[in-house]
Symmetry: C2
Subunit: 332 residues, 2 copies
């Protein structure tokens, strides 16, 4: 690592476990040799040692309206993190805070890649039995979309799958309610037509495999699932909620009787890899694709490990020039 390498700006105030777990995550990154910078209120960062800090007096809450909050709280940790990227003080940004506000800060301060109509949130979806997750986008940035945007999501998703997960020729599916091109909403039917075009597939080295269904989000036969932000977010939260309900119910069963406890103990070593796959902490968080810089959004419940993973991913994508690859593929 060159001594001049820029750090990843980490929003110390974002998420349910801020600032403690965020700071711990940054410390893990430092130990791993990744340059970081913590952005937050002075009192929250008073005990931080060995990590550069940038002070911001305000905090944008999880429930605040993104656009309003970003406009009004000019000295918030989120806005200041985005400014650090804009001003060449940081190479990328990471936040576990308000997703909409992260998007708004990044858009306003860092800006959009030329030619991108709407940035999208790309979220990794665990695939049991495989270390590489699938990618779902848009998972919540744009509640209303037009068909052309979905094609751009597909292009950006393909580039991301290659840069982040080393998928050579990403298979891209369109989230619908049946495999036939005639199935789905008007939006999806129009998007199917546009996605069938060869031009964009060649440009991004992706392959459109047609409609996929909700049950295919964890399917290893697809790499990127494209949806409008409303449908994508409903699907993502349904998947997370279902996994959590089942895991919670399982844990209840494991402690329900002495026999069950004994059985759970015997199973534990074999269960661990599955648990790791399903654990949102293991994956490095979502990314805002279409921004002129790397901006990662970690889950609100992120602990140190998830923050570390997000920082490491942000750093790797930045040094690998992911944004330049996106710029190259997007048609102006």
């Amino acid at each position: 690592m060159s001594p001049n390498t820029l750090p990843v700006a980490v929003d110390a105030m974002g998420g349910d476990n801020a600032p403690l777990e965020i700071i711990k995550g940054a410390e893990l990154a430092l130990e791993a040799g990744i340059p970081v910078m913590l952005v937050g209120q002075p009192e929250a960062l008073s005990d931080v040692e060995g990590i550069p800090t940038k002070f911001a007096s305000e905090v944008i809450g999880m429930g605040e309206d993104p656009a309003t909050a970003v406009r009004k709280k000019k000295d918030s940790s989120l806005v200041r993190s985005a400014e650090a990227v804009r001003d060449g003080e940081a190479i990328a940004m990471v936040s576990a805070g308000n997703t909409g506000a992260t998007m708004a800060s990044a858009l306003l301060k860092i800006g959009r890649i030329r030619g991108v109509s709407r940035p999208a949130i790309a979220t990794p979806i665990p695939v049991p039995g495989r270390s590489k997750p699938n990618i779902l986008l848009d998972s919540g940035a744009n509640a209303e979309c037009n068909p052309e945007w979905l094609v751009q999501f597909a292009e950006m998703g393909a580039v991301y799958a290659r840069d982040r997960f080393n998928t050579k020729k990403p298979k891209i599916g369109l989230l619908s309610i049946g495999e036939e091109p005639s199935k789905g909403s008007l939006l999806v039917k129009e998007a199917f037509g546009l996605l069938s075009d060869q031009d964009w597939q060649e440009r991004c080295s992706g392959e459109f495999i047609g409609n996929v269904e909700g049950r295919d989000l964890m399917n290893p036969d697809v790499d990127v699932v494209v949806a409008d932000g409303f449908t994508g977010n409903v699907a993502l939260k349904t998947l997370e909620g279902t996994a959590k309900s089942i895991v919670t119910a399982l844990l209840d069963v494991f402690s329900s009787s002495p026999e069950a406890e004994e059985g759970a103990k015997l199973l534990a070593p074999s269960l661990l890899p599955l648990y790791e796959t399903l654990d949102p902490e293991s994956v490095g968080g979502a990314i805002l694709l279409g921004i002129k810089g790397v901006a990662m959004v970690s889950h609100g419940s992120s602990k140190a490990k998830a923050i570390f993973n997000a920082i490491a991913t942000a750093f790797e994508l930045s040094t690998d020039e992911h944004v330049r690859h996106l710029e190259h593929v997007i048609k102006r």
Copy 2:
């Protein structure tokens, strides 16, 4: 049971396990004292004893276009089942076949309840730790909806929750991507406004609790989740797919080593109730709400137990005059 009670018409040809498992399901119903009638091709029903049959020469396949298939295959088991209800030969119908074609047959032959704009598919969603499932509608009948239809879905869902699951004052949530009324697609935001009106809530004795998210489908604090058919179907399939992926991965773990096998054996008795809750076979299938008769749609993968449950539910709802309750609530 009066000797004149009409039977439930069961489509013997519908589903992945037809006709064998369908016939077995009908036999279970007969044993339980529920009058049934099997509708299908003569050769498929040649071994049936003690159950009245109605012959139909054609079968509508799972992949066929619903409207076309129903129009062309006039002598199909699905169309004949619907006609049996229309003609007063059967009290209700059950099929594990093509859902769209079941809807089309029911609409065309049995007809819509007066005042209903669009019938919807209402699907039970298991709630771990609770015997009573939630209800999701529309889970796939109408890919494009307008806000007024969503209000009718809510009304019908409330009546159904009361008639089927004895929920006195059903709590109804609108599926969106955030709890605030400002979150979601244009459709959802408009529907939120209409659903906030007291009038329909009083008419159906339901309570609108606002927006819910994908993670709330299995939440015991809601009884009925309302969505357009596209979003509802994506959510349903995502939930089913996630549950199936996790259960499959678990079963793999259980047989992965001698220790794991031993552990699984110890856990089995405690795991069974959870497995039962999540098993689609345990629930009596989905219903088409808004039809002038009870029409149940079982999962394509249904075996005898699921078919029996669907028949029993159809019979109970019919004798309890569920359709009359719906007619009473829907504004003409």
